[in-house]
């Protein structure tokens, strides 16, 4: 066990500056209107730095810088791009603890996750796209003896990206790495709840990135996100967030006729078939961990397995064992490597989760464990903590239908395989799902029948690069975390060439 010192105190591995400006054109630039806003750590509820409050003027400046860099960067070779991405990855690896603690401080998630998941995954993501772009080939087709269709990949130019607050660095990297690998310049707007950690990362890597290739403008959605998303000077917009803003971004994109990729969340089912409990062995233990995975990142994950569906014949025992596992989740100081669940990312997120605990109880769902705000002591008393909570109820309750984005699990039982699939698919969303079964046939059939973009089988919450991630139904458009994302950041140029001297014969 070790406990990292809080940033701002002697001995911390990371020191935040008292104020961060925008990063535009390779420089730190004050907001045009001179305004800043406070960034609060959810660990204690205290402000720890302030960041630029960007407006349309700052977005325009960032787009100027990006377009100034575009002729050179768009024409860069895959080798140059890959080299830069690999150097960024190396620099991040050398500073793993610093970045991890910065991320924990900004977001509230336990440092065991940032050290072992968020940041290592981000590092690997840069390396993955460095490799992917080196290996990418165009296509050619010989249509007849003298006619060839060539298909070239070209960068789009300058793209916009709006980042969520639940994995501030990893989600930024999921978007940055393919965009940069494809040769685009980027204007990126972090979430206003977690604006600082990405700036700490940018400071570390700024000497590796040509001026204007990555530009970061912070600010509020309405003041800063909208001028980016609706801008005529972006060639694509990527967004992770909720459905109303997703629709609004599509609406703006429709006005400019540009492509969008959207990741809008889910209400992921996690299905436990009866053969899971055939033996009380290592696999059974793994399945119990799968049950408890709703608490990862305090439940603030788009794929949070927030609906556990357990087969009737094993329901009572498996649920009891699952609750026992949940009772062992260690809550506390996010900077302690033993802590398994940290803080919710913001005060309004805390309020929202509490409102769902309230409606869950009102709808008659039974609280099996948790159900309240968690009160921590000392300087953590001001932070935003919620007890891991398990409700028992039915799939038509609102806590089964909506993404709470907190450590809240809703459990229901099912009888037959068909019931399981029917309940699993009875949702507006289709991002993630889990299937647990010893029978390979059951697992395969269930995995194919569930309408979601990612089905974990006999595991959950792993996010290795080269495994496509994206949604069915209202969960969005596009697939991240895989080289197919390059397509979303590239234009296809078809050159249709005739090598014959003979005329076509029409005129």
């Amino acid at each position: 066990m070790s406990v990292y010192t809080q940033p701002g105190k002697d001995g911390s591995v990371v020191t935040f500056k008292p104020r961060y400006e925008h990063f535009i054109g390779g420089q730190w630039v004050a907001p045009v209107k001179g305004q800043y806003f406070e960034d609060v750590t959810p660990v204690t509820g205290q402000a720890f730095t302030e960041v630029g409050r960007g407006t349309a003027e700052d977005i325009e400046a960032a787009l100027d810088a990006a377009w100034a860099a575009a002729p050179s960067w768009n024409a860069s070779t895959p080798t140059q791009r890959a080299l830069m991405l690999n150097k960024i990855a190396d620099r991040m690896e050398e500073n793993l603890e610093l970045i991890a603690v910065a991320e924990t401080w900004d977001n509230g998630k336990p440092v065991r996750e940032t050290l072992n998941a968020d940041i290592p995954l981000a590092i690997d993501h840069f390396r993955y796209f460095a490799g992917a772009i080196r290996a990418q080939e165009g296509h050619l087709s010989q249509l007849d003896e003298d006619t060839v269709a060539y298909h070239f990949h070209e960068p789009l130019g300058v793209v916009g990206q709006i980042i969520p607050w639940n994995f501030p660095i990893l989600m930024a990297v999921w978007k940055l790495a393919p965009a940069l690998a494809a040769g685009n310049c980027v204007v990126l707007k972090p979430a206003e709840q977690t604006p600082a950690s990405i700036l700490v990362l940018m400071e570390l890597i700024q000497d590796l990135v040509p001026d204007g290739v990555v530009n970061i403008v912070n600010g509020f959605g309405v003041e800063c996100g909208k001028p980016l998303a609706s801008n005529k000077r972006i060639r694509k917009i990527a967004f992770t967030g909720e459905t109303t803003t997703g629709r609004l971004i599509m609406q703006y994109a429709s006005e400019n006729i540009i492509p969008v990729t959207l990741e809008l969340g889910g209400k992921s089912p996690n299905i436990f078939f009866e053969d899971v409990a055939q033996q009380k062995d290592g696999f059974y233990d793994k399945a119990l961990e799968g049950f408890a995975f709703f608490a990862l990142n305090s439940g603030e994950v788009c794929t949070c397995p927030s609906r556990a569906l357990i087969q009737e014949s094993i329901y009572d025992q498996f649920l009891a064992d699952g609750i026992d596992r949940v009772s062992k989740i260690v809550a506390g100081n996010p900077l302690d490597t033993d802590t398994m669940i940290g803080a919710q990312a913001s005060t309004d997120q805390l309020e929202k989760i509490l409102s769902y605990l309230d409606i869950g109880k009102k709808e008659g769902a039974k609280v099996l464990i948790g159900g309240e705000r968690a009160e921590l002591e000392g300087d953590l008393a001001g932070g935003y903590y919620v007890q891991p909570t398990v409700f028992e109820g039915t799939n038509n309750m609102r806590i089964f239908q909506e993404e709470i984005f907190g450590p809240v699990l809703s459990v229901a039982k099912f009888g037959s395989y068909d019931d399981a699939i029917s309940i699993a698919n009875d949702t507006l969303y289709g991002l993630g799902a889990g299937v647990w079964a010893r029978s390979g046939n059951t697992a395969y059939r269930a995995g194919r029948a569930i309408q979601s973009g990612r089905v974990w089988v006999n595991q959950y919450h792993s996010y290795p690069a080269h495994s496509a991630f994206g949604g069915y139904k209202s969960s969005g458009i596009g697939r991240e975390n895989h080289l197919m994302m390059l397509d979303h950041y590239q234009q296809t140029k078809n050159m249709l060439v005739s090598y014959t001297e003979s005329p076509q014969g029409f005129f």
Binding site: T243, T244, T245, E300, D348, Q349, R398, E402, L428
Partner: protein, 166 residues
């Protein structure tokens, strides 16, 4: 006025709620919820209101109306700030056949003079999942994301829900 996370303790209407108190609605929101403004029913075949606003929400709406003009809401779902009510300039968010108009609230200024109607929308598929609940829009300290108008103010609209038999 901020009523924070309270959902059970009744908060008396303060003077900032306007001279009329705006409590004349015939609709029964459960006791304990202080509803200062009630939207008219607009869902086909229904007569009872599905949307109310707390005094804190009304105050914030007035403030936003002053800066941005006429307003509308669209109830969000999904990831991150999903389930948050999003407030936009009227007409900014395009609604269509895939949406349901849950209600229209007549917003008044502090002195009781009329400001104008505020439409409250939700997507039709989300409405199906939310059918059995009536919404009370509150305002709490916080910083939402999305493009909702109030985020720079340090306050955030929040949807609280009550069971209903509508």
């Amino acid at each position: 006025m901020s009523i924070g996370a309270q959902t059970t303790a009744s908060v008396p209407a303060g003077p900032e709620n306007g001279p009329h108190g705006e409590q004349e609605s015939a609709v029964e929101f459960p006791p304990g919820i202080d509803v200062a403004l009630t939207a008219t029913a607009t869902v086909a075949g229904e007569t009872e209101s599905r949307v109310g606003f707390t005094p804190a929400a009304v105050e914030l709406m007035r403030q936003l109306w002053e800066s941005h003009g006429a307003l509308m809401f669209h109830q969000s779902g999904g990831c991150c700030d999903g389930s948050a009510p999003m407030c936009f300039p009227a007409g900014e968010f395009r609604t269509g056949d895939s949406d349901v108009l849950l209600g229209v609230a007549d917003l008044t200024a502090q002195d009781g003079s009329a400001l104008g109607p505020v439409e409250f929308w939700i997507s039709a598929e989300q409405f199906e999942a939310w059918r059995r609940t009536r919404l009370v829009i509150d305002a709490v300290p916080g910083r939402g994301s999305g493009f909702s108008l109030e985020t720079p103010t340090g306050k955030r609209f929040l949807t609280r829900s009550e069971l209903c038999s509508v």
